[in-house]
């Protein structure tokens, strides 16, 4: 712990600082609400996203009741939230109906993906950490950043407000396929008050927000890197954010187009996605111009949808790959191959989308292409996860609170990633497509995978944000039960899926169940064998909700009562965010740092301390630096 641990806190002449405005005091509203500071915006994103995640989680708890106990009314401890009028409209004898389940299911998926994980990963972590790690005083376009947050919030509120209207929220799955989505809520006279329409309006707003954000991130990372921060000295975190930015920039526009086209189908009676000759029981022959293509919507949706899963995943990779080196006290193994892998991953993610559409009647040629690309994309993923694992080897591992989450991330994401493999093959999908195996697979990725990465990230950067650590005890009370519950919930899904249980069943398979003991109905008997797992999974989900309370308590009480940090670099880490005062003020750095070396210089043989931050000036003894130093001197841009 020598001189390295002190950050750059001495005050500097004003000419050097980028922002003059960070000296005069801002009012509360300007500082916390309409802030243009990337850190405050990051926190706003974080709090909002966590709230939406909690809401999405609650919707899921109600769904899990309906799956486990389709014949029993929703118990008081879950239903007290609803008003009587709402219950009368959406519950039947207190029980969840198919319509209500579909509404909750669609909104759970949408909220978790678009309002929870993306804003938490990209909006919160990305915003807070990226400028700090590249030594920038703020994002390139602070006002755009603020606009991005407010449009996101507006989009989220528009979507969720539909729960309170007569027609309820969207109910056609988070995938919103036409013509189902086109018919849904068609009876509503004022279409702008229908959940299905509001979902589209909300989506368009969310996409707009993401586009503003991605442009901002890309510009910031390309242009605002501090002196010496060459591409290959950027922390892996920044690389992930850069690729995420490009994914958002390039993948979202097709969905925005699709969203607007579907909106026009609803409000302007166009038929982009509605074919001719549809006949529904309630309406008879549908009154449409027709001629549209339902498959076109699927292509546009999944052209976003697949890159989107990497938009969810990369920020979690980003967090974990910062936490592992800091807690193993050694460099991230294979940094370069990880960087190339993430670039390849980003590129390939644009050419795999139709693996979500294998059952739409795909011929041999097209399916050969998409199976090949899908299998190819597993290679960079394997490289990244293997590098993370190998990074543990030879370390001196400290199991700090962030580290235990990061460690659990690896095998949990491993299960999620591996169970994706059978789904890559068209033939295996003849059995597995749209079953609970799929639900198990992607939830292993998003819940014990990505969410664990984010819990790790919160614990890791919390001391920088607040100047205090989160509680270890509360963290243990949160971590271990959550780890167990996650597996109780999601592993049985793989079993049920293999048995042929399909997703989006509000009654958990009750309709297919053969009740008679001597039944010869093959599928009915299979369902009978596995249906009780529903109760186990649902109980796991409710139990897990309980243990999240420890996290919430920890998050808020540590702000005031947590153990204080004694240094600006409490984890003895190497990347630039730890060179700032705690918490960093507007403008971030008190003196512009210079980057002298790569991001993960831990336990260097030429150095006494077990870490050598990027901003520490090289000494003669730092023999490993010399080559880089002279190179830097030659190319310094002043």
């Amino acid at each position: 712990m020598s001189s390295h641990s002190t950050s750059i806190t001495e005050h500097n002449d004003h000419d050097d600082s980028h922002h003059d405005d960070h000296h005069h005091e801002l009012g509360f509203i300007q500082k916390w609400i309409f802030s243009t500071d990337h850190k405050i915006i990051g926190l706003q994103y974080g709090i909002t996203a966590l709230s939406f995640l909690a809401f999405g989680f609650y919707l899921m708890m109600v769904m899990r009741w309906s799956i486990a106990y389709p014949h029993q009314p929703l118990p008081e401890w879950m239903s007290w939230v609803f008003t009587d009028g709402w219950k009368a409209r959406w519950l039947q004898d207190g029980k969840v109906t198919g319509e209500t389940y579909n509404m909750f299911g669609a909104m759970h998926g949408t909220i978790m993906v678009f309002l929870g994980i993306v804003p938490l990963g990209f909006g919160a972590f990305g915003n807070y950490v990226t400028p700090l790690q590249i030594g920038a005083p703020d994002m390139a376009f602070p006002r755009l950043n603020m606009a991005s947050y407010w449009i996101y919030l507006l989009g989220g509120l528009v979507m969720c407000s539909s729960f309170f209207f007569e027609a309820g929220a969207a109910k056609s799955g988070w995938t919103n396929y036409s013509p189902l989505a086109g018919f849904a809520d068609g009876q509503v006279v004022n279409q702008w008050l229908a959940g299905q329409t509001q979902w589209l309006v909300g989506l368009v707003l969310l996409i707009t927000s993401s586009l503003l954000g991605s442009v901002n991130f890309i510009t910031t990372i390309i242009n605002l890197r501090v002196r010496g921060m060459t591409w290959m000295r950027m922390p892996f975190f920044v690389w992930s954010m850069l690729v995420t930015g490009f994914l958002l920039l390039l993948a979202f526009p097709p969905l925005e187009a699709a969203g607007i086209m579907q909106l026009m189908d609803r409000v302007a009676h166009s038929s982009f996605f509605m074919p001719s000759g549809l006949f529904t029981k309630s309406e008879g022959l549908a009154d449409l111009s027709g001629g549209g293509s339902p498959l076109l919507f699927q292509h546009l949706f999944w052209f976003l949808g697949h890159p989107e899963v990497y938009v969810l995943l990369l920020p979690a990779f980003a967090c974990v790959s910062e936490i592992i080196p800091a807690n193993t006290r050694k460099p991230l193994w294979g940094y370069k191959s990880m960087v190339y892998s993430v670039l390849v991953l980003g590129f390939l993610s644009f050419v795999v989308w139709a693996h979500h559409m294998y059952m739409t009647g795909m011929g041999a040629a097209v399916s050969t292409f998409f199976q090949t690309t899908t299998v190819l994309i597993s290679v960079p993923s394997v490289v990244i996860i293997t590098s993370m694992l190998i990074s543990l080897w030879g370390g001196s591992i400290r199991f700090t609170p962030p580290m235990i989450w990061a460690c659990a991330f690896i095998p949990m994401f491993g299960i999620g990633g591996l169970t994706g493999l059978p789904l890559a093959f068209n033939l295996a999908d003849l059995h597995l497509h749209d079953t609970y195996y799929v639900i198990g697979h992607f939830h292993y990725v998003v819940a014990p995978g990505i969410l664990f990465g984010f819990f790790a990230g919160i614990l890791h950067w919390y001391p920088k944000i607040t100047g205090r650590f989160m509680s270890k005890t509360l963290n243990h009370l949160h971590f271990w039960p959550t780890l167990i519950c996650m597996n109780l919930i999601f592993f049985p899904m793989l079993v049920q899926g293999m048995a042929g249980f399909h997703r989006r069943w509000y009654n958990g398979g009750d309709a297919y169940l053969s009740k008679a003991a001597d039944s010869v109905n093959v599928f009915g008997n299979t369902v009978a064998q596995h249906i009780d797992l529903n109760i186990l999974m649902s109980s796991g989900a409710w139990l897990m909700a309980f243990f999240q309370i420890f996290f919430i308590i920890n998050l808020f009480t540590s702000w005031k009562f947590g153990k204080k940090v004694t240094s600006d670099n409490p984890w003895d880490a190497t990347t630039l965010e730890w060179a700032t005062p705690t918490p960093p003020g507007h403008g971030n750095f008190t003196k512009e740092p210079i980057t002298y070396r790569g991001p993960y210089e831990y336990s260097r043989p030429d150095c006494d301390a077990d870490f050598l931050p990027q901003w520490t000036e090289p000494k003669r003894s730092h023999t490993l630096d010399t080559a880089v130093v002279s190179q830097e001197a030659a190319s310094s841009k002043a």
Binding site: E99, S276, F279, R329, G361, Q371, R504, P605
Partner: protein, 264 residues
């Protein structure tokens, strides 16, 4: 015990289903091998390199090319899975209609609607009559056009009946939204896309009775859209088919005009 059996896959009843199960098993063995390898390595690391056991970290870490070997291994296995299983077997499903034709398959149109399935059999002439959504009515829920002579012996059924050991081609379609016709014990499924008729084929190898799943969200009744299917011995099927055709001919044949005039 194979991984798929361990996870509860129901017995297979179709000629190609064994290949599907086999592929699922092979992939799962591969996944298990990778996962066990990773996990052993992981637990070894977190114990062996815990800071109390290893106070000083190594700057270089692993120097061998173990991971490159692993990655190359992964690529090879995946290539085998693609070239050996996935491509050829999928082509047999969707790109093989000449040979399927030679198997003299039974043909049935499967029509999904919110929330059930109706089966349209071509009758003894083996030709489907035209259909037209304008003609859909309470008594003609598929909109079969009985002015088409091919339609006269066509009959519909609320349950899918097929003979054992004979190939079947199901033309999957829908009247309203997207559904998916999924026969779990046959390891086959196909989306029903509005405006299209998409064939799927398989050969049942054992008699059975089973539910058929609608595997694509189709509205509030999606979870209850239970289809029924029976695979029966050939002679039983033939008797059923014959009697259905005959009664269809009786009801659908154009009545002599004289009769029509008596009932204005």
């Amino acid at each position: 015990m194979s991984p798929s059996k361990f996870l509860g896959i129901p017995a297979n009843f179709s000629s190609h289903g064994g290949q599907v199960d086999h592929m699922i098993d092979v992939v799962h063995w591969f996944m298990i091998a990778l996962f066990v390898g990773w996990t052993v390595f992981f637990f070894y690391c977190i114990i062996r390199f815990w800071h109390k056991n290893n106070p000083k970290a190594s700057y270089d870490g692993v120097r061998s090319h173990l991971s490159s070997h692993l990655e190359i291994g992964v690529i090879i296995v995946e290539a085998v899975l693609l070239l050996g299983f996935a491509f050829p077997l999928w082509a047999a499903r969707v790109d093989n209609w000449k040979e399927v034709q030679n198997l003299n398959p039974n043909r049935v149109r499967v029509v999904g609607w919110q929330f059930g399935w109706t089966y349209h059999y071509p009758g003894s002439d083996n030709k489907f009559g035209r259909t037209n959504p304008d003609l859909i009515s309470g008594t003609n829920d598929l909109g079969i056009d009985y002015t088409d002579p091919n339609a006269l012996d066509d009959f519909t059924s609320p349950i899918l009946k097929l003979p054992v050991d004979q190939a079947a081609v199901l033309n999957i379609g829908t009247k309203d939204v997207i559904h998916n016709y999924c026969i779990v014990p046959m390891r086959i499924q196909q989306d029903a896309i509005p405006g299209r008729q998409i064939p799927m084929w398989f050969t049942p190898i054992k008699t059975l009775e089973t539910h058929v799943v609608c595997a694509q969200l189709c509205g509030e009744g999606h979870a209850n859209m239970v289809g029924s299917m029976e695979v029966v011995p050939k002679d039983q099927y033939d008797t059923w088919f014959k009697s259905q055709t005959e009664s269809a001919l009786k009801t659908n044949s154009p009545k002599p005009p004289a009769v029509a005039m008596i009932n204005p």
